[in-house]
């Protein structure tokens, strides 16, 4: 049994291939605009993702205004509302979270943490960003076509997605959405090949796979999932586009509208789309979650000054979760009308996937145990992640148990579940990760009092928004309703609760502006950080320049002698040993 611990040997194997010449940009345009440097590309992805994410945030405020005060905002019509929820959902899941975790954090951290100078295909990597930007622009263009963007729900189910009666079906909104998704997938295939091949082939000498930080493992496995799952969405989008433009019937059965049978459609299966969509859609949520898992493991271990507990198990859990994520998709379809016997299979696989996920939670918590915990902002965000992720993961167990899903599906319980587990928890990781890596990217620290305000309002506020929404779901309040109107079973207090939730949502939204102000201000006025303010072991903190220059590591690539978690090693003078310090150079503690 291999013991993963301090370096046991001081001989490091020679490099397998000679170092490849790195592309060197000459002009301002090729350095900062059409850059092939993964760090620049990462920042481009991050800015674009956050910008479109802010649009989705504003859409959520509009949605909450309607839900909290349904009689007050007459400028919001039902069609508008359905466009808001669709665009909010699609942007947040795909254009913000996936793009930011993979394109943003992946590009910045993978080469650095692997000890490489850049990604292995820098030109394709550059193209991947511009294709992503094009995808975003096509998506935004749907606001400017007749009828506006699609209002079919982020899940875009046919037949309604392409039929009159749904916003965007007639004027081109749905087509632009589908084209945008196809472009996104093309861009992320280009980027994804980079991330996977760089991790497999471009690690520096001594950096075995089992010495990689969990951040890299999380993004790596998530990228493999993306490469395998996105094609299902791609073909679904192509087939739906054909159904809309050429009136084929992949997903369209006989349709009766306005009392008459439509001439063109017959024989297609709406359920086929759902299978394709969710075959993509379930791995997609793990594409969002796994990088978060990896990153939070590193945040906790650095700031608790303790090795991540059970590193090997954590790696296997990431791989197992990734693999299992491909056999659970129809838990989104228990009440879809599919063959009921599938419910047994998918409920079982869904509850099985809870086991490796729970193990990760235990290991994060056990890293805190017997640690030496600094309550820095990254640590606070990591702790908040654990709490909200456990809460959200638990409600997933309710929904995954097929028969329990029957009364809860399409209620606000589902909305609360996926916001808590995919909205609140990963966003908390992203925020913590920004506080953690901002000093490396800019050489300055983010302001702490502003950060404390941002953290507490975001964490407690977001929890206070989504916890009560579960109980609206238990009441039977449906999702995707423009307004409740008159019912016999929803008490007046539920409407009051909706008002309260709206107000908290607006407050939490405001707190993000404080964060953005902090990011901009600290670029100029932040306290100088030095090269390794947190005392971290991983290679990105050992670069000769901060921020890292082109080529990352100066003249010599680092050589790695140990895993990524030598914190609190007995006998060492410091409470951490960077990965690239040879065993004979480790400062010994004075006895």
């Amino acid at each position: 049994m291999t013991y993963v611990g301090p370096a046991e040997f001081d001989r490091v194997p020679p490099a397998e291939i000679p170092e490849v010449d790195l592309y060197h940009a000459k002009s301002w345009v090729t350095k900062y605009v059409f850059s092939q440097d993964a760090k620049v590309i990462a920042i481009q992805y991050a800015f674009t993702a956050i910008a479109i994410g802010l649009v989705a945030l504003v859409l959520s405020w509009l949605m909450r205004l309607q839900l909290g005060f349904p009689d007050s905002f007459s400028f919001i019509e039902p069609g508008d509302y359905y466009q808001f929820i669709t665009m909010h959902g699609m942007i947040m899941v795909i254009y913000l979270l996936t793009a930011l975790f993979l394109g943003g954090f992946g590009n910045y951290l993978i080469p650095l943490m692997c000890g490489a100078r850049d990604m292995v295909f820098p030109y394709v990597n550059m193209l991947s960003y511009w294709v992503y930007l094009l995808a975003v622009l096509v998506l935004v263009a749907s606001w400017f076509v007749p009828g506006g963007p699609t209002g079919a729900g982020w899940t875009l189910y046919p037949p309604q997605a392409i039929l009159s009666g749904t916003p965007g079906a007639d004027g081109g909104g749905i087509i632009l959405m589908l084209v945008s998704l196809a472009l996104f997938i093309i861009g992320f295939t280009m980027g994804g090949l980079n991330y996977v091949v760089t991790v497999l082939q471009a690690r520096t000498r001594g950096m075995t796979l089992m010495r990689l930080p969990l951040t890299v493992w999380g993004i790596f496995v998530a990228t493999i999932l993306a490469l395998l799952a996105f094609p299902a969405l791609f073909v679904g989008a192509v087939m739906m586009t054909l159904d809309r433009i050429l009136e084929t019937s992949f997903f369209m059965p006989v349709i009766v509208q306005l009392g008459a049978v439509r001439e063109n459609y017959a024989g297609g299966s709406p359920l086929l789309f759902q299978h394709l969509f969710w075959f993509f859609g379930h791995p997609e949520v793990y594409i969002v979650a796994l990088p978060g898992f990896g990153i939070v493991s590193d945040l906790i271990s650095v700031h608790a000054r303790r090795n991540i507990f059970g590193y090997r198990m954590m790696v296997w859990a990431i791989v197992a979760i990734g693999g299992l994520s491909f056999v659970v998709w129809a838990h989104h379809m228990y009440v879809s009308g599919m063959n009921p016997w599938f419910g047994f299979f998918f409920a079982t696989t869904t509850l099985i996937i809870a086991v490796p996920t729970a193990l990760k939670v235990y290991n994060w918590v056990l890293t805190l145990w017997k640690g030496n915990i600094r309550l820095t902002l990254p640590m606070l965000f990591a702790i908040a992640f654990i709490i909200t992720f456990v809460n959200g993961g638990i409600t997933g167990l309710f929904l995954g148990n097929a028969v329990v899903d029957v009364p809860l599906s399409d209620t606000m319980f589902v909305v609360a579940h996926f916001h808590m587990v995919m909205g609140v928890a990963p966003i908390l990781v992203i925020l913590g990760a920004i506080y953690h890596w901002y000093p490396k990217m800019t050489g300055r620290m983010l302001n702490v009092p502003l950060g404390q305000f941002h953290f507490w309002v975001t964490f407690i506020g977001a929890y206070a928004i989504f916890l009560p929404i579960h109980y609206l779901g238990f009441l039977g309040v449906p999702r995707r309703y423009f307004e409740m109107g008159e019912t016999t079973f929803i008490p007046e207090s539920a409407h009051t609760l909706n008002e309260f939730i709206t107000i908290i949502a607006l407050i939490v939204g405001f707190a993000q502006l404080v964060f953005i102000y902090n990011i901009i201000r600290s670029c100029f006025k932040g306290e100088p950080a030095g090269s390794n303010p947190w005392g971290a072991t991983t290679l990105e903190w050992q670069t000769p320049e901060t921020p890292p220059g082109h080529g990352n590591f100066g003249k010599e690539l680092p050589v790695v002698y140990r895993w990524a978690y030598d914190y609190g090693v007995p006998g060492a003078a410091d409470d951490f040993i960077p990965q690239n310090v040879p065993p004979d150079k480790v400062a010994k503690a004075k006895s």
Binding site: Y157, Y311, V335, F344, L397, V404, S409
Partner: protein, 294 residues
Amino acid sequence: MSHIPVAVILILVAVGTVLFHFISPWWWTPIASNWGYIDDTIIITFWVTGVVFVVVVLFMAYCVWRYRYREDRRAEYEPENTKMEVWLTVFTTVGVTAMLTPGLFVWNQFVTVPEGAAEVEVVGQQWTWGYRFPGKDGKLGTSNNAKINDGNPFGVNPDDPNGRDDVLIEDTELHLPLGIPVKMLLRSKDVLHDFYVPEFRAKMDMVPGAVTYFWFTPTRPGTFDILCFELCGVGHYQMRGNVVVEEQADFQKWLNKQKTFEQSMAKAAPSAGDSPKPVLEAADTGSAEKGITR
């Protein structure tokens, strides 16, 4: 921020969540069907997961306070502990099994329609409901959306004799007899819909081009709201109706007032004679399956 306030806040989050659960007035609507087993499974899930949530958060609060940073301390260096990890895996698997087992039992009941259940067809369209009962022969006539027109809004096959006495209700109010298990056969004319009454706890999407189902037994008389539970366009939130659950005799009176397929076809081509009054009886074993188009 120092460790004690943070630990206290974490404790408050755990305690507050549990308190909220018990004092919240927002809970499920009183059940009006036989599916109390689903509610029971939810309670089991709450216990198993609730304990885990509280333990995890309180343990973290403890660690935040007990293992706060001190310059002269070091964290314990323990890369892994296989024994502990095996135990945690076993414990989690037991917990998961404890929830999945009753869940699958009840799911099995949910998908297995009892012998002799009555049948009612619900037809959804943008954005209203319609209903069809089998009529005196106890069989629903075959149907096909391609046959739908103004005179035949349910698309009943005019050549199928079983369909003649089917009772058609072009209204959003459905009546059901108390205490009789009923299989809801679900069709849609255009897009996905879902027929749901929160008090019944049972639902299934309605898929155009297919017939889906769920079954339940109404156990409490009353009038209950029907809401559409699958996004079906801009009118989705207005697609409402109600179900009146009443004693068999009152239900029969209501059913007798409704017109049959034959009568509605006769309106287009008037002919002599009233059809005999339709009666809903629990269908014979096996006969209910005939006459349904898939």
